[in-house]
């Protein structure tokens, strides 16, 4: 792959001289591209998304990237910042920059559409194929769901996923095996399997079946997840439960 020499582009800023960030952004379509260098004025409480937006608004309007909520709700702004997958709208430059340098690239493990925008389809297709969504049981649980019961707590532990694919990008098992569903999908399956209101616990555990055992417990997902979830712990739960069932262990119905 040919790498263009990074070059300095105009800043689009005409106020008094101030501290500048040395920003490198991946530019290119599909598989090809190069790092391009931009000088962006450093501001207080500036997020990485602010930096990208500055470049797009004041330097090069053709820069492609994605965001929506800017408050860590929608999960659309994830990028690779200095080698780490992160949600850029809630990542301050001061956290991520190294010696005033920030390198911003597209998420790993997903095809690049252009610049910082990746195609999220493979991520969501795995989600869909695993049937990782709530299945109403059609009737209320025989016993009321108590917020502090163990199963509810296990379900609650994984519930704040914003589908940002940061964990998917952080995971080597995803990189090594295209069939691996990835941390987010498995975390969701474990959440559903613990939700007593869900009508298809067996289906969710079957869907996790072979896939969950491809996890090697690197824990890079847990380290990277911006909402502080621990997919590795969820997957360990799935491995246990899937194994127990393979040995003919009782399902939850049997335990009640």
């Amino acid at each position: 792959m040919k790498r263009a020499r990074p070059r300095l582009v105009k800043t689009g800023y005409d106020g008094p001289v101030m501290a500048m960030l040395e920003v490198e952004i991946w530019r290119g379509e599909g598989g090809g591209g190069a790092w391009r260098r931009y000088a962006v004025p450093h501001e207080a409480n500036q997020t990485v998304l602010d930096v990208v937006t500055h470049v797009q608004r004041h330097i090069d309007p053709s820069l492609a990237y994605r965001f929506a909520c800017r408050v860590g709700m929608c999960g659309s702004c994830a990028m690779t910042v200095n080698g780490r997958p992160r949600w850029t709208c809630r990542t301050h430059v001061s956290q991520a920059a190294r010696k005033g340098r920030v390198r911003i690239g597209p998420l790993r493990n997903l095809p690049v559409i252009r610049d910082l925008a990746v195609d999220m389809a493979p991520f969501f297709e795995k989600w869909r194929d695993a049937g990782a969504r709530f299945v109403p049981s059609g009737e209320p649980p025989e016993e009321p769901v108590r917020p502090d019961e163990p199963e509810r707590r296990a379900a609650d532990a994984g519930i704040e996923c914003i589908n940002c694919a940061v964990c998917y990008a952080a995971c080597d098992s995803v990189a090594w095996n295209p069939d691996y569903p990835g941390p987010a999908v498995l975390n969701r399956l474990w959440t559903l399997a613990n939700d007593r209101r869900d009508g298809d616990r067996d289906g969710h555990l079957d869907a996790a079946g072979a896939g969950c055992h491809l996890c090697r417990s690197h824990q890079e997902c847990a380290d990277a997840c911006p909402t502080g979830l621990n997919p590795t712990a969820a997957i360990a739960g799935l491995k246990r439960e899937v194994f127990r069932r393979a040995l003919g262990g009782r399902t939850r119905e049997g335990r009640q």
């Binding site: 780490r84 380290d223 360990a236 246990r240």
Partner: protein, 108 residues
């Protein structure tokens, strides 16, 4: 950006592959026990301190794979604990201890 658990994984895989390569040789040598003279030659060779050092390395490798494997089993079959780094440290420490123990015995 790789952190502790990732390196623990790598060591475990490398030590597993190394064991798979080394164990056949080990059994071959054990097989020589039937032939007295050949075994003595091998045992003479293992008197060399460098060979002993290499053997200590193999002991560490085996111990590393054993404690690392127990760590994985605990992670997967036990209750989740957030103290994964400490467990990795314990597993690595025990393996090193086994290596030093072997060296102490070999040079005693």
């Amino acid at each position: 950006m790789r952190r502790g658990p990732w390196w623990a994984f790598l060591l475990h895989r490398l030590s597993g592959v190394a064991l798979a390569v080394f164990l056949p040789v080990h059994f071959l040598v054990l097989g020589l026990a039937v032939e007295r003279a050949a075994l003595d030659r091998v045992l003479d060779w293992t008197d060399n301190p460098w060979v002993k050092l290499a053997e200590a390395g193999l002991v560490v490798l085996l111990a590393l794979h054993l404690t690392g494997g127990l760590r994985v089993l605990l992670l997967e079959f036990g209750r989740w604990s957030d103290r994964q780094q400490s467990r990795i440290a314990v597993a690595g420490g025990l393996a090193l201890l086994a290596g030093f123990g072997f060296l102490a015995a070999a040079f005693a």
